[in-house]
Every structure is written in structure tokens, then in C-alpha cells.
Symmetry: C2
């Protein structure tokens, strides 16, 4: 088991990554002296598989849990669903010492976290992410929120969990498309902060796609470690944390244009990362060869790297981008990549360049065999160049 600390002063917490952790949920809550009444918020699919284990674990440790089930999918991140959760928490007499467990993927974590952040002016909450994407990204760092018609995550808070429990066993039942979408965030960590992780992914992708336990646990742990380091330095995204949005400016806009849920978040940001790499080639001299390497890794996973838009869709995309929270006073800013493992945030990008790259044909991905210098044996957890 890996245990990673997110260093945030009095709000510090740990992420545990390993197998058979779900059954230890109750014990972990007890260790932190959480209140007696609690709600496990989950979606219908996850409830069927893991709801009972979670609830029984809590009961066995003396807690009084209630199970709140929301529909699966991005549409659950709505004010309507928030209102329904509030009512159920009140009905089950949750009060300020009570807590919420988010059991599920990113949607459940974002929704349940927002409910916890605002119910009774904020009650404790615990993240039990059951998808790869949630384990390496959304469950860590305290970003919680819901969508408005006008944009994704337009409403939310920075609200840290008391702890995160990543039970890798829950990934066994994850549909292959969702698993692959999670790998898009993993590749992101390589590009933004860790060239050794990126090289390892170029080599070890077959093992990761097979969900090999050792590869999976060390890679998930490394990603959490990188995210914890970034969040520890910039909790509320006043600067550095923006690097985690690499690929997300176009990614979020694509999700909005395609209708939330049609394109998975991981699929949208795979396209977004390749797009950002191409902008980086134009603006920062990021090598064309490395643009191809980036595209190649996503292709190995089976993720999209390009999207063809008609003029109407393109206009809709621009409209959506203008509502992105990273748009400040009308200027579109991107996270761009200088070299693999190092990015710069807040880069102003001219609109006509965005349009030009959107209209360009897809990148021809490099075959990985040609990407020299990769060393799969090098442990990503001991990357010597890494600041955290």
C-alpha cells in the first residue's frame, strides 16, 4: 500500500492506494473520530457493486450510514441533484458533526464534495474514488462542484476531504472505455511534470492496459504524489495549480459542445492535450517530434487525438471556451508545454491560432519504437529530477 500526504497545514490529509481498502473504510473513519451519522453518496452502478461493502464497513465500526443513490453520468452534477441530496441529509438528521462519503467516480466525488462543502456550512467528507480518473485526479485536491447550462464546474468550492481511499480492486469492474479515459490524466502528469513517467508510459502501456496490479499501483501513486505536491503549493489555483489544467481548456469546451457525457472527460482532454502540444509547437518551439510522441501515447491507449468540427460546431466551441474559468477579462489562456515534463501556465494564445490549429489535419503519431531513450525499468517513484 502507498500512503501519500497532501500537505495543507491543518487541512492536510492522506491518500491511501492499494487493494482491499474499501472494507477498511469504517476503521479509517473511526481513526479520525468522525461523527456518528453519515451518508454514502454513490451512483446506481457503483451502489450495486460496492454500496453494501461500504455501508457494512461503516456499521461495523459503530457509524449510522444512509445510502444516497444518484443517477450515473455527468448529468448528476446538477443543482437539482444537489437539492435532492440536501433533503436526504436533512431527513436522515445529518448535522454539523456528521460526514459524507463520496463513493464513485469523478461525478460522484464532485457532487458529494459540493454537498458536503455547503451542507450545514461544511461537514467532513471522505473520498472513495472507484474509477481510474477519480483516483489519480478528481478525488485529490479539493475541487468540488457542479455544472450549469452555461458551463462545466461553473459552481463549486475548494473543499478538502479528510482522507482519500483508492481501492485498486474497484478498477477491476471498470468498463474499458472509462479505464482508458482515466489514462488520459495519467499521461498528463508525465507531460506536465515527469518525463520519466512519460517514458515509462510509452513503454509500459500494454501492462497498464492489462491493469497489471504492480504497474497500476506505482503509477497511480506517482500521479497522486505529483498532484499532492502541486496542490500543497497552490491550493486555490492562484498560480502553479493551473498546470493541472493542461489540455482542459479545449477539453472542457469539447465536452460542452458535444453535450456532457457523450465524450468522456478523459477523451476530451486527450484531444485537448494534443491540441495544446500543437499550440506549444507554434508558440514555444515545442519540437514537432514530441508533438508526435504525445499523440502516439494517446493512440496506444486507444484515445482520440483529434476532432473534426463543422463551422457551426467550431463557433459553439469558441462560445463555450469563452465561459471557461481560465478565461480572464476576455483573453484565452492556455497551459503550454516547453518540453515533455515541463509546462508554463497562463500563456496567452491568439484566437486566430486556435482557429488555425482546430482546422488543421490530425497529427501523424510517432511510433513508440522510434522514441529513443525511454527506460521502462526506471522507477517513476524515484524520478531524480522531481521536486515532489
Amino acid at each position: 500500500m502507498y500512503v501519500i500526504k497532501v500537505p495543507l497545514g491543518v487541512r492536510s490529509y492522506t491518500i491511501s492506494i492499494g487493494n482491499q481498502l474499501l472494507a477498511r473504510l469504517g476503521q479509517e473513519c473511526k481513526r479520525l473520530y468522525l461523527g456518528q451519522h453519515c451518508a454514502v453518496i454513490t451512483d446506481r452502478n457503483v451502489a450495486a457493486r460496492y454500496g453494501e461493502v461500504a455501508v457494512e464497513s461503516l456499521k461495523a465500526c459503530g457509524f449510522e450510514p444512509t445510502l444516497i443513490t444518484v443517477p450515473a453520468g455527468e448529468t448528476a452534477k446538477s443543482l437539482k441533484m444537489v437539492a435532492s441530496c440536501y433533503d436526504q441529509l436533512a431527513e436522515h438528521r445529518l448535522e454539523r458533526k456528521s460526514f459524507v462519503v463520496a463513493l464513485g467516480g469523478g461525478v460522484v466525488g464532485d457532487l458529494a464534495g459540493f454537498v458536503a462543502a455547503t451542507y450545514s456550512r461544511g461537514i467532513d467528507f471522505v473520498q472513495v474514488p472507484t474509477t481510474l480518473l477519480a483516483q489519480v485526479d478528481s478525488s485529490v485536491g479539493g475541487k468540488v462542484g457542479i455544472n450549469l447550462k452555461a458551463g462545466k464546474n461553473l459552481v463549486g468550492a475548494f473543499y478538502q476531504p479528510r482522507f482519500v481511499l483508492c481501492d485498486l480492486d474497484t478498477l477491476e469492474t471498470l468498463p474499458v472505455r472509462e479505464y482508458r479515459a482515466g489514462l488520459a490524466e495519467i499521461i498528463k502528469y508525465g507531460i506536465i511534470h515527469d518525463v520519466e513517467l512519460f517514458k515509462r508510459l510509452e513503454q509500459a502501456m500494454p501492462k497498464l492496459l492489462q491493469r497489471d496490479p504492480d504497474t497500476l499501483s506505482s503509477v497511480v501513486a506517482r500521479c497522486c504524489q505529483i498532484k499532492a505536491g502541486v496542490v500543497g503549493q497552490d491550493e486555490t489555483e492562484s498560480g502553479l495549480r493551473a498546470i493541472l489544467n493542461f489540455g482542459h481548456t479545449i477539453g472542457h469546451a469539447l465536452e460542452a459542445v458535444s453535450g456532457y457525457g457523450k465524450l468522456l472527460h478523459g477523451e476530451a482532454i486527450a484531444i485537448g492535450q494534443v491540441f495544446a502540444a500543437r499550440l506549444s509547437a507554434e508558440l514555444l518551439g515545442f519540437p514537432a517530434r514530441d508533438v508526435e510522441r504525445v499523440a502516439a501515447v494517446f493512440e496506444k491507449v486507444g484515445l482520440p487525438t483529434h476532432i473534426k468540427l463543422n463551422p457551426a460546431q467550431r463557433e459553439k466551441l469558441f462560445e463555450a471556451m469563452r465561459h471557461d474559468k481560465k478565461v480572464s477579462e476576455g483573453v484565452i489562456r492556455f497551459v503550454l508545454v516547453n518540453k515533455i515534463g515541463q509546462v508554463s501556465f497562463g500563456q496567452a494564445v491568439p484566437l486566430d491560432l486556435v482557429e488555425k490549429v482546430l482546422a488543421a489535419p490530425p497529427v501523424q503519431a510517432a511510433s513508440t519504437e522510434q522514441s529513443a531513450g525511454a527506460n521502462a525499468a526506471h522507477s517513476v517513484l524515484r524520478a531524480p529530477h522531481s521536486a515532489f
Copy 2:
């Protein structure tokens, strides 16, 4: 003009109390380098009187304000109204560097503050309280929130404003019933923390009721100073801050039972404070004579000190109390008064005593002429026994 600091580290801010301050709103926002786009959230009554001054002041300083008007009254503190505000902020392209101005009473401040706390994961906000209650209480300290059917303020956050502007001129047009309700919070500060303030109120109430500018400004400033001191020591109500809830446990329940808005908050907590004083007499030996003095001050203002309930209402009241956030694991806890100027929070009160006092006849209020030792000339701003 009085300027009082709320000491909260990086979230510290000032409360300015004086005349003709509203027209300086834009300058104050500029001084803090707030973003260009902003929304002034207000209610219909306040919009008619002060909306234009606020908007013009902002425009004159280069800001781009939009005016959002909500219905007057407690019913505006709803999720539905929050959703409507979100949509209007998105429509007017407010983003993370934008800000919200809450222009109005406690309802507007709570609603607009909650919207600001959650829009785009939290944007800047400014409190411009225009009622006495909001100036001495709700605009200071960062409690924001809305009501659920299950209870008042069940949803909310601790979210501090960037500054508070109390323009005493806005009190001139305040209806007398609302003005009196605000005095209930002012009396509270005397009871919980400042016997000299209490004595001054016993003496100077006629002047306060006439809205005498000097009396009003020094009393409002003293209340803000007390509140700032308490909040500075305990921002999120893990302990001391609970003393500010003196009279609120029964008060909130009465509001819920009577239907929000029928009984003004100040009226409900006037009854609640006398009720808490009576419980204190039973449990802490608080002198019967002082229970009478407490009742007498509220009566001087013209506030209710007692409510007669039928058995059905009493049951409803108990049900409402059980949903109060100050209820922890089923035990009803009150803030009780040891002596005027000193209270204890978290006092467990047996349910049968609550019932007994609820059924008892009203307190016979003491006439103020008999309350010896009061010294109206003593400045409440220099109360020598005060820690803040």
C-alpha cells in the same frame, strides 16, 4: 467614521461605519484591485432606493456592474434564487476575478454571499448592509447561506467578504419594525460580552430609537468590534463563536414554526434571548432580577419577549429545534448567561426544562428606573473590562 478590522490573517478585512459611504463603493473596490466585471445583488425595495447610487459609483471607477434584483424577504434565501443568480452571473460573463456586491439586509447578504462563495469556486464579494441587523451582525464574519424546508441556514459556507461598508444613511429609510428588530442583536452584544454596553442601552434607548447619529454610530461600531473580536478568534464556530448564537436556538425554531418572514429574525431572537435568560436562571443561578432587566430592555424597544404556543405549535417547535445546527448527536445545547456581559456556550439543557419554561407565563419586566448602576455617559467604545 469608524474603521474596524476583522483579524483573519490573509482573509482580514475592514468594516467602515459612517455616513455617505455608499457613494464611495467604487473607490473602495478600486483600492483593493477587484476585477472589472461585477454584479450588485439586491432586493426590490433596496434597488429602488440605493441601486443606482451603487451602480453609478462602480461605473465611475471603471467597473462594469450588472444589477440583479431578488424579491424582498426571507423566501429569497432559496436554492431557486441561488440558481437564478448563477444564471445571471454566467449571462453577464462574470468569471473568477469578478466580484459580487451584496447591497441590502441580512437576506441579501446571506444569499449573495453564498452565490459568491460557490460561483466559479468562489469569487470576491463585498458587503454593503443597509439594515441595522445586517450592519451589526450578518454582514460581518462570513456566515453565508440559504434555507431548506427542513431548516434555516441548513446550507451555507464560511466565506469572508473583502470589505464591509456600513452607510448609516441607509438606515434613515428603514421601516420602524425592521429597525427595532435590529436592536435585538445590539442588545445581544451587551448581554454576551459587554455589561457597559447593556447599561448604556438601558439608558440611551430613546436616543437610539430616534436614530440619533452619534449614538447610532458608536453603538454600531462597538457591536462590530465585539463581533470582529469573536470571529477573529474562532472563524468557523468550533467554540467561542457560538456565543453569538445567544437566543438563536429558540429564535430560529420560532421562525421556522411561524413560517419564515412572519416573525422577523430580530423579533424571534428577542423572545429567544429572554427564554435563554430564564433557562439560565434555572440552571446557572442567573439572578431573577437580571432576567427582568433583560426583558425590560426588549420591551423598551417594543420587541416581543414571550410567545404563547398551543400544544401543536409546541410540538412543531421541538421538531424544528431538533434540526438546529447547534443540536449535536441529539442533545439540545444552549448559550446561557452567567451574568450580564458573560455567557457560556454548549450548555446541555434537559428537554423537560425547555418545555416547562415554554409553558410558563411571561416575565414581568423590570422598569429601567430601578436598574441601578447604569451609566449612560460611559463610552461603550472604551469599556475597560473588554478583551476586544
